[in-house]
Amino acid sequence: MTAVVLLALRASDDGQPAALLDHDGVPTIARLLAQLDAQDADPARIVVVTRPAWLEAVAAAVSGVEVRGVDRTAALRLAAGHDPDEALVVLDGHVVADEVALGRLVDVGARGTAAALVADGARADGVPVRVTRGRVVAAGSDHHRLAHGSHRAPGGLRVAAADRARLADLVERLVALDLPQVPAGEDLVALLLVGLVRDGVPVTATVLPAGSVWRRVDTRAELVDAHAQQAAVDPERVRLDAAVKSDDGFFTTFLVSSYSRYVARWAARRGLHPDQVTVASLLVGLVAAAAFALGTLPGMVAGAVLLQVAFMLDCVDGQLARYTRRFTVRGAWLDSVSDRAKEYAVLAGLALGGVRTDGDETVWLLAGAALALQTFRHVLDLGYAEQQRADVARAVVRPLEDLDDVASFWERVPLATPARVEPPIVVRTSTPASACVDAGSSLARSAVATLRRAEDVPVLKWAKRIVVLPIGERFALISLVAVFGSPRAVFVALLAWGGLATAYTLGGRLIRSVA
């Protein structure tokens, strides 16, 4: 059960409700309601909140849902919804959005509190927010100033049932703050978002798929533009593109995902479940390992090809799950475990093949070392990510009443946009030791800043991703060296490149720890 609150509080440039601006005779808010209906939202659970002066006009434009005309204080309370046992979606009524974007927010399968976000940019609409590790850590509003935002929040919020009580509390605190009125209509969604974030509620950053449309419209010209934008969008294309992860490695992104997404769509049409694809990927991987174990050149070639097929299927299972919005905990575990099983079975197969060709058992030592190195790297990465997540969760949260928000010094995680991190102003007596530390620290900071700026240059960005030898590059390396070299050479290559990657990553992290 999800309740929906639509806010029609914003005035357009002619003083009328922005939500009633119509395109092809249909007001924006009516269109939004129709889309919500298509998303299986229950009309009995939808409330439209508007100004008393507009009550009649809005009630006439929408049908079948409750409309309330109230002042700002009551609007805030209504925005927090009544029934505390259900999830709540709060939307601005003057939003023009396509079904993919709307579906992301209203997603009945999703749990947890989340804010719909778009990437910061010229066309971006909404208050600035800062996202770290998938979580909204800071937000602005009409009254709260935010420096260094990474995304924008264009008026969509979902509050989990578990967080409803806290929402009700912070609404009372917002009312008590008695913030100044905003003539054109306040962004209440942003205010609620700031409240949630400042209260320490974990708010997931639901970044809307690139290419989808979500804009709040308060002039007729913008409305026409937004609809033109929407008409140009192919929702099928957007959904397919959104199914592909954006932070994959170079090999995966360019040489696999470019076509694996179509395999994913084919699998969706055949009604296949992601877990079935995962198991298929594992089986093909095991056959590849068996082929490698033969030790002959045809065996190596067959193994190399099968390994690539297995990897492609492995990309497909994730893309299929995202495309059909079917995520299960068991599926995620199966995916990860089968990845590891494939990789380590293939290494064993290669070692067996190596022993078969030249009878030298020491190749097992190299295989074991490759396994150990890869596990070491994984556990290192996971430990680091855990600490970063804990840092974000533990961060000192500014109180709601504080209207300013500057990038605080504890935020050592990289921001999406390169930002100058301002160190705290500390008065210290300077000793030679501390001067060395300071010098090293500022050197580290400029190194970090340079590394971050490298993200903007495509060649450097992809080079960084290739150096760390992610799974796509590893499997490609195994396939190539198995065919053109030998099993022993495969292990040496994995150890050499893996060693380099470890040094690179560790170096970067150490620098960042002292920056």
Binding site: T328, V329, R330, A332, W333, S336, V337, R340, A341, Y344, L347, A348, A351, L352, E361, T362, W364, L365, A367, G368, A369, L371, A372, T375, F376, R377, H378, V379, L380, L382, G383, Y384, E386, Q387, S513
Partner: protein
């Protein structure tokens, strides 16, 4: 949980020693892996070159002795202080010490690879379990399978008594079966 401390898990220990844990673990790694692999050979060669070769066969020529020394350092590390921002490499270093010790003492056979694979399965499974189910294996299970201290003691004893090469493959099979069974049982119950 991520550390797989086994019997040491419940012991309140951090900060008893003035040395930082990451440092002790790094030292343990260096002693147990490259140390055990390289130093016996060097020292043996050096001893043979000098006196009458009577020094050959002494404790420092046994790789397992170096691994044992590394193990002691790693256990001490458990009692060392942990500077907050440098706690994240500890589980990885513990994996490196354990896997490295297996490679140095038993490496070069399918059995040792199998042992590493069994251990890796368990360690990965624990990580994914923590991320997805937010809980790890039961404490009694961690103690029963030894944790890194327990398993490494067994490893050193087996190497010292010369039985390691025979025991590696059976150990891999048994441990692998135990870990996989526990994992499947947990996931069946959770799903």
């Amino acid at each position: 949980m991520l550390r797989d401390d086994g019997p040491l898990a419940g012991v309140p220990a951090a900060g008893r020693l003035p040395l930082p844990e990451p440092l002790l673990l790094a030292a343990a790694l260096l002693v147990a892996v490259p140390g055990a692999a390289l130093l016996p050979g060097w020292l043996d060669g050096a001893a043979a070159g000098t006196a009458d070769g009577a020094a050959a066969g002494a404790a420092w020529t046994w790789p397992w002795a170096w691994v044992a020394a590394g193990l002691v350092l790693a256990v001490l590390g458990r009692f060392g202080g942990v500077p907050a921002r440098l706690a994240w490499p500890a589980p990885a270093l513990l994996r490196a010490v354990e896997y490295g010790a297996v490679l140095v003492l038993a490496g070069g056979s399918a059995g040792s690879y199998g042992l590493l694979a069994a251990l890796a399965f368990h360690h990965y499974d624990v990580v994914y379990r923590l991320q997805l189910l937010h809980r790890g294996p039961p404490r009694w299970f961690e103690v029963a399978t030894g944790g890194w201290p327990g398993r490494m003691v067994l490893l050193v004893v087996a190497a010292a008594s010369g039985q390691l090469d025979r025991l590696v493959a059976p150990a891999a099979i048994v441990l692998g079966a135990v870990f996989v069974t526990e994992s499947v049982v947990t996931w069946r119950r959770a799903a």
